[in-house]
């Protein structure tokens, strides 16, 4: 888990930068993308080990980003974040290949635990 390369994708800058800082405090390498296009570019340039992806985003939506990531990197684990609290969205995401989904507001311990599970299941 040490030095795990994480990509955080969310349009809510305040949220995502703070989250990145907290993860770095825990010794993880978190980078931030504020929209789907930026995220996809960053994945192409330097593929992370795990992606944390918000579903609701302007421009290319979360599901579309997920679909493209899975097309290029089927082995890259993706954990979805949803603000709507909808199981339906989560289930749809998992059908598209997401490892799991979490609801906002996040519990950081829960997020780290999920990432651990994801890494372990994607050797």
């Amino acid at each position: 888990m040490e030095n795990l390369k994480i990509l955080l994708v969310d349009d809510e800058e305040e949220f995502v930068t703070t989250l990145a800082e907290r993860l770095e405090l825990r010794g993880l390498q978190a980078r931030v993308a504020l929209n789907g296009e930026a995220a996809l570019k960053m994945i192409e340039a330097d593929t992370p080990e795990i992606v944390i992806l918000d579903v609701m985003m302007p421009g290319i939506g979360g599901f579309e980003v997920l679909r493209r990531i899975k097309a290029q990197h089927p082995q890259l684990p993706v954990i979805l974040l949803t603000g709507r609290g909808s199981e339906k969205e989560g289930v749809k995401g998992m059908q598209l290949g997401a490892f799991d989904y979490l609801m906002k507001p996040l519990n950081i311990e829960e997020l780290i635990k999920k990432m651990q599970e994801a890494i372990e299941s994607h050797p």
Binding site: T18, R22, G83, R84, G85, S86, K104, P105
Partner: protein, 574 residues
């Protein structure tokens, strides 16, 4: 109660059934339907029965009257023939013998004897000169030399040439009739031949009519004196107690009541050659027997049909009103359920919006507080570390509580989520109108449906579509005056879209109002509106990938046009 009142009552009772007033309305409805149905079934029956009775009565009367008339006329002719025969014999004798010969008593006796053998009923025969003196006489009495010049019959025969007397009682108290003929000779003098006939032959003629014991027939004189024996109305020479018109030549049949109180039919045929009339009397009970049987049967049928009609109508009305009541109750219930769902879904929408909007800042607070906690926890030298960690934990706990709340709200809203089904918009509009028809009917607002046949089915959410049209039509109803008009039109806009427009002849809207009608919490209905109806409508239509447009002119009315895609792709909504 006139029919208009009845009808108004009937329609009114279909409307407005609030609380205990409802049972009263159904009672009135039941009563009105009952009365109406009874009237329209029984009135024709009564009219028919009356007409039938009248027709049948007159036809039966004709059937009785005509044979009566015929019989009377025929018998009268027999009598006239009888008299004519006697007269012609006497006329023949008068013309075939000279005055001198007839004056001779011997010749008179010989003629009388011959006549007695050939013709029955002859009583006597005599010759009277123009001074009224009996010159010769053959018969049982001795009338020779008798002067008739002062008697009425003598005057009459001199004037008329022939004479038939009324019946009189002779010397032997036996009824007789006298017939006399005037003969003028070539030299201008005249004489009279007179015969007396007994009336036993009259009874034979009457007996030949074959009357039953309840009937009667007799001759009367023009002055109403009975001339032949009568069963019920007196002896010969009595005055006839019946009164009836005698007429001139024809036999006339009239209704009368006789002295014994019987209802009778009287046929009267006056003679042309003599001062007689033949009277035939038949009791009505006798002839109208069949009529009475038929009438009582008809009455029985009539009463039993009326009873049956009342029974059936009562049962029918009962069932009908029960059905109406059930249907009303069902509709009321559906509407209430619908309104409830509508309310819930409005709240759900609001909740989802609020929860979603709050979730984002809440996530930021959560992360910021989390970072603070991390920084404090990692800093060994931080003063009041415990105090700060406690404060941050309580922030995080509050965030956790908010999260629970927003998730509950979102969970509630999710139950109101869209369910796409194939639906027929025309059908859906008509269904939705079912909720509002009552108000429209009561306010006399005309709902005109201009729906295109074979409108393609669209995939959409039934409940939400109902809400869309209910909101718009409800607003239209609120905008129109009583007796206004709302026109609903549907059409296929293009290969992907169908359109529905709702046009009202209401008050219309100002430019300013028009700009904000889809804004939440904007309402012109003051206290009555939540200001959410059109906002929600707009939200739903947009979410279904459709569009909604409004045209309005103040004082002329508004037109709402909704465009819906045939295949709905759920958009982000509001």
């Amino acid at each position: 109660m006139n029919f208009k009142n009845l009808w108004t009552g009937l329609t009114k009772s279909l409307l407005h059934e609030s609380g205990h007033e409802a049972s009263n309305r159904y009672r009135i409805l039941r009563r009105n339907i009952f009365i109406l149905m009874i009237l329209i079934t029984i009135i024709p029956l009564i009219i028919m029965a009356v007409i039938y009775q009248h027709e049948y009565h007159s036809s039966i009367k004709q059937e009785i009257v005509i044979p009566l008339q015929t019989l009377t006329a025929k018998t009268k002719h027999t009598f006239e023939l009888f008299f004519e025969e006697r007269l012609s014999v006497i006329r023949f004798i008068a013309s075939s013998y000279s005055f001198e010969k007839l004056s001779d008593q011997k010749t008179m006796n010989r003629i009388f004897n011959v006549l007695l053998n050939e013709y029955c009923c002859l009583v006597d025969l005599g010759l009277i000169n123009n001074k009224g003196i009996q010159l010769s006489y053959a018969g049982p009495y001795n009338f020779l030399g008798k002067d008739y010049s002062e008697q009425k019959w003598f005057q009459e025969v001199v004037v008329k040439g022939t004479y038939i007397s009324n019946v009189f009682m002779g010397y032997r108290k036996f009824p007789h009739v006298a017939v006399a003929v005037l003969r003028r000779t070539e030299d201008g003098s005249s004489y009279i031949l007179r015969a007396t006939i007994d009336t036993s032959k009259f009874d034979d003629i009457i007996a030949s009519m074959g009357l039953n014991p309840e009937s009667d027939a007799f001759l009367i004189s023009r002055s109403g004196i009975i001339q032949t024996s009568s069963r019920f109305y007196g002896e010969i020479m009595d005055h006839c107690p019946l009164s009836f018109p005698q007429g001139n030549y024809e036999a006339i049949v009239t209704d009368a009541i006789d002295p014994r109180g019987r209802e009778i039919l009287v046929a009267c045929a006056p003679f042309s050659s003599a001062e007689y009339a033949l009277v035939l009397v038949k009791p009505k009970s006798d002839v109208l027997h069949t009529w009475h049987t038929l009438r009582s049967r008809m009455l029985f049928v009539f009463i039993s049909s009326v009873a049956l009609i009342i029974l059936v109508v009562f049962k029918l009305t009962d069932t009908l009103v029960k059905r109406v009541k059930e249907a009303d109750e069902k509709r009321e219930l559906t509407y209430r359920e619908f309104q409830h769902t509508h309310k819930l879904s409005s709240i759900g929408r609001l909740a989802a919006g609020v929860a979603h909007e709050i979730n984002n800042p809440m996530a930021i607070i959560n992360e910021k507080a989390g970072l603070m906690k991390d920084l404090v926890a990692y800093d060994e030298n931080f003063q009041k570390k415990e105090k700060f960690l406690g404060l941050i934990d309580s922030i995080l706990k509050s965030v956790e509580r908010c999260r629970a709340i927003t998730h509950r709200l979102l969970g509630f809203a999710r139950r109101m989520e869209v369910q796409l089904v194939e639906l027929d918009l025309n059908e859906l509009i008509q269904e939705t109108l079912g909720f509002l028809e009552k108000e429209a009917l009561y306010r006399n607002v005309e709902l005109v449906l201009n729906l295109t046949d074979n409108l393609p089915r669209i995939s959409s959410d039934r409940g939400q579509m109902q809400q869309v049209f209910l909101n718009i039509i409800n607003n239209a109803l609120a905008a129109v005056e009583d007796e206004g008009e709302i026109v609903i039109t549907s059409w296929e806009e293009d290969s992907d879209t169908v359109g529905v427009s709702i046009r009202d002849t209401g008050c219309g809207m100002s430019e300013e109002t028009l700009k904000s009608i889809f804004d939440p919490f904007f309402s012109t209905k003051q206290e009555n509106g939540t200001g959410l109806g059109l906002a929600i409508t707009y939200g739903i239509v947009k979410k279904m990938g459709g569009d909604i447009k409004v045209k309005s002119k103040q004082g002329e009315g508004s037109t709402f046009t909704v465009y819906l895609p045939k295949k709905t792709k759920i958009g982000p909504g509001e």
